[in-house]
Amino acid sequence: MKFLMLSCLKTTELVEKKNFSGLSLKEKVQLSIHKRMCGACAEYEKQSKFIDNFMKRHIHKIDDAGIPQSQNDELKEKIKSKL
């Protein structure tokens, strides 16, 4: 069994690798065993997915909804002077 044991550090790596390129069978087993024993890493995976969802939702936004708006009048004048 020992060869299937992961550290938490390695587990957080595999969580990201899983999203990125997928895992080997051995890595899948390692990850699921570790998560069953370690609540912190199970929670880490949930939160990692939540951050992914957040990023995906906002990356392609072109409307202003949800993006904090800043006013920059100096920039307007600066650009106009260069046109």
Binding site: S7, T12, F20, A40, E43, H58
Partner: protein
């Protein structure tokens, strides 16, 4: 001299766009780069590019849509160039989170996020916390994260384009996530 008339018309049009759309474009660029200086530069370049390629515009789309498309390319280019900077692989960050056996340090393991549900994704206060946390990351890590989501492409293709091994790429994402996760937890979930 019809040409000069055209040119001054174009110039006036772009100036009126600067007045109308700068705030939106700047906010968008700030959101995507997490840097005020870079956001300002990219918005300025966007308008200069719009002036030069005005003939391609032809009024086919909403000006803002066209400007955002130009800006988006500029942001993408910025992240590609920025990403190539060295010092991506500093591993000292692990020491803050894990002990020598790779186990979470006391007080570092992820606590439960009580209301990490869908509704948070569009909550302006939460978005502000998230944006502030992004700004705290090293600039080339921000680029790594942004590139990850800017492209619909598979990860391996991004790695080929950036000339980086897949292992290094997702390890950067992992490190950035560790910091980002912690920052969001402190800024929002533990009060």
């Amino acid at each position: 001299m019809p040409n000069t008339v055209d040119e001054s018309n174009i110039n006036d049009t772009i100036k009126s766009w600067v007045q109308t759309y700068t705030d939106s474009l700047y906010s968008f660029a700030l959101y995507k780069t997490s840097s005020k200086e870079i956001a300002e530069d990219l918005v300025q370049e966007t308008f200069l590019a719009a002036l030069q390629s005005f003939n391609n515009y032809e009024g086919r789309s909403n000006p803002k849509t066209w400007l955002i498309a130009i800006l988006r390319n500029k942001i993408n280019d910025y992240h590609r160039i920025n990403f190539k900077n060295p010092t991506l692989m500093d591993s000292s960050i692990y020491d803050a989170f894990f002990n020598e056996n790779g186990v979470w340090n006391k007080g570092q393991f992820p606590s439960k996020w009580q209301d990490s549900t869908e509704h948070l994704l569009d909550n302006p206060d939460f978005i502000k916390v998230f944006q502030d946390c992004m700004q705290d990351l090293p600039p080339n890590w921000i680029s790594a994260i942004q590139l990850r989501y800017l492209h619909e492409k598979k990860g391996e293709i991004i790695c080929q384009e950036l000339n980086i091994s897949p292992t290094n790429y997702w390890k950067i994402i992992q490190r950035a996530k560790l910091l980002l996760r912690k920052c969001i937890e402190l800024g929002w979930f533990i009060k």
